[in-house]
Subunit: 277 residues, 2 copies
Amino acid sequence: MTPHPFDTAVSLTPLDAAVPGRFAGASSPDYWNMVGPFGGTTAATAMQAVMQHPDRLGEPIALTVNYAAALGPGAFTVLATPVRTNRSTQHWTVSLTQPDAAGADSVVMTATAVTAARRQTWGVNDTPMPAVTPPVAAEKMAFPGGGVEWIKRYEMRPLSGMIPRVWDGSGTDSLSQLWVRDNPPRPLDFSSLAALSDVFFPRVWLRRAKHVPVGTVSMTVHFHADSGQLAECGEGFLLGQARAQAFRHGFFDQTAQLWTESGTLLVTTNQIVYYKE
Amino acid sequence: MTPHPFDTAVSLTPLDAAVPGRFAGASSPDYWNMVGPFGGTTAATAMQAVMQHPDRLGEPIALTVNYAAALGPGAFTVLATPVRTNRSTQHWTVSLTQPDAAGADSVVMTATAVTAARRQTWGVNDTPMPAVTPPVAAEKMAFPGGGVEWIKRYEMRPLSGMIPRVWDGSGTDSLSQLWVRDNPPRPLDFSSLAALSDVFFPRVWLRRAKHVPVGTVSMTVHFHADSGQLAECGEGFLLGQARAQAFRHGFFDQTAQLWTESGTLLVTTNQIVYYKE
């Protein structure tokens, strides 16, 4: 059986028995974007390194990924370190390095993560899923020829705030809603959820209806679900909603949510993105 | 002239000429919370270490602070490292350590930050400040006797979503709005803005009207302003708005904004917080 392209993309091989968090990986051509792989798979790689660490305690609560430089094709090294382990929470630092032109190891991504043993407590979902067309009734987005690879790895069913068809500067707001899942479908896990958190096209393209160069600088994911809730979702669709709060001096933010089809809020996520005038 | 208590709280002394990002600091009794200093000053300490680093490029864009353990009284060490410097952005890792009971250095906080040279670009404030009572017309919050120290270091003028007076489980939502500034007033800078991002009382107290133990696990701050805009704000009030999106399995999130009195969105910030049933 051929592995799912996402599993290939985030596959990590332990490098050193003495340093259990040190892994070898490689950039995925299947998820290639313009000048490097999709940032979502890079975030997923950081998450995966934590998930695969033999000393991990509990499940992810928070992940922040900083994109320090464009990841190139080929091999890279990831190092996940549990810097503090408490009774029920564990704090991680992660770095991804790749040889630069001179062959020296160069930092391409830094991340921090928190994992925790979750407990049953009082709870409430204070951000109900918006009332939208169900996925079966929403039209699948066609992949235009010549598009980037990574977008073909997701089944997207846009509902509102689609990519402008005409770049005429006529944008009025930055809100997008879409149904999304892996393509082909794949059971949800924390790594794929980290990748899905970065699935929205740049808010500045929508807000301005202008196609300017962009790049995510830092993304934070707060996980509200445990592995049981991810298993319930399985290969189902997620409803994604994203909007920006401010565009200024070359950077905009994006605030987003991901719900299961049955309305469970799985993730709240925020990122800050560079844009060029 | 006595220095402002905030300046004393975030004061850092270089420890080692060979490692320009290594500083000595000390927990501030003036900002003491229940079992350690106010998390806002800890975040500000991480920011301050970056701001004081001689090799810093540009101004803060993003800061993520992970609270790994309760910071104790007394001395600590901060290390800020520029792990990647690009043409217009710079990526930082920060750690704060303190000797544990056995005298060994123990990680209390990790952080990452991004600084950048900002440019004039097209921009838009897509989250207008809500229409609220101006600070002069809003009542100053009284400090009940026996309260924690840090809260006295802020002038707060709550507008809505105040701390419940009765803990009767009658909460219905998690939205709070307040005017806030340093007490006594102090010109805004990036470090104080990082601290102000953590000024909201725990959302679970409001949502449940129940006083349960809490602790911020991770906070991310996205800065939308440059130092010129902070200087324009000066000692003025900020409007803070915070709410939660989900409470589940012992953790809730908080999504918040800070505007200047004239309506400039300075910060969007998110945190994930532990709560006990």
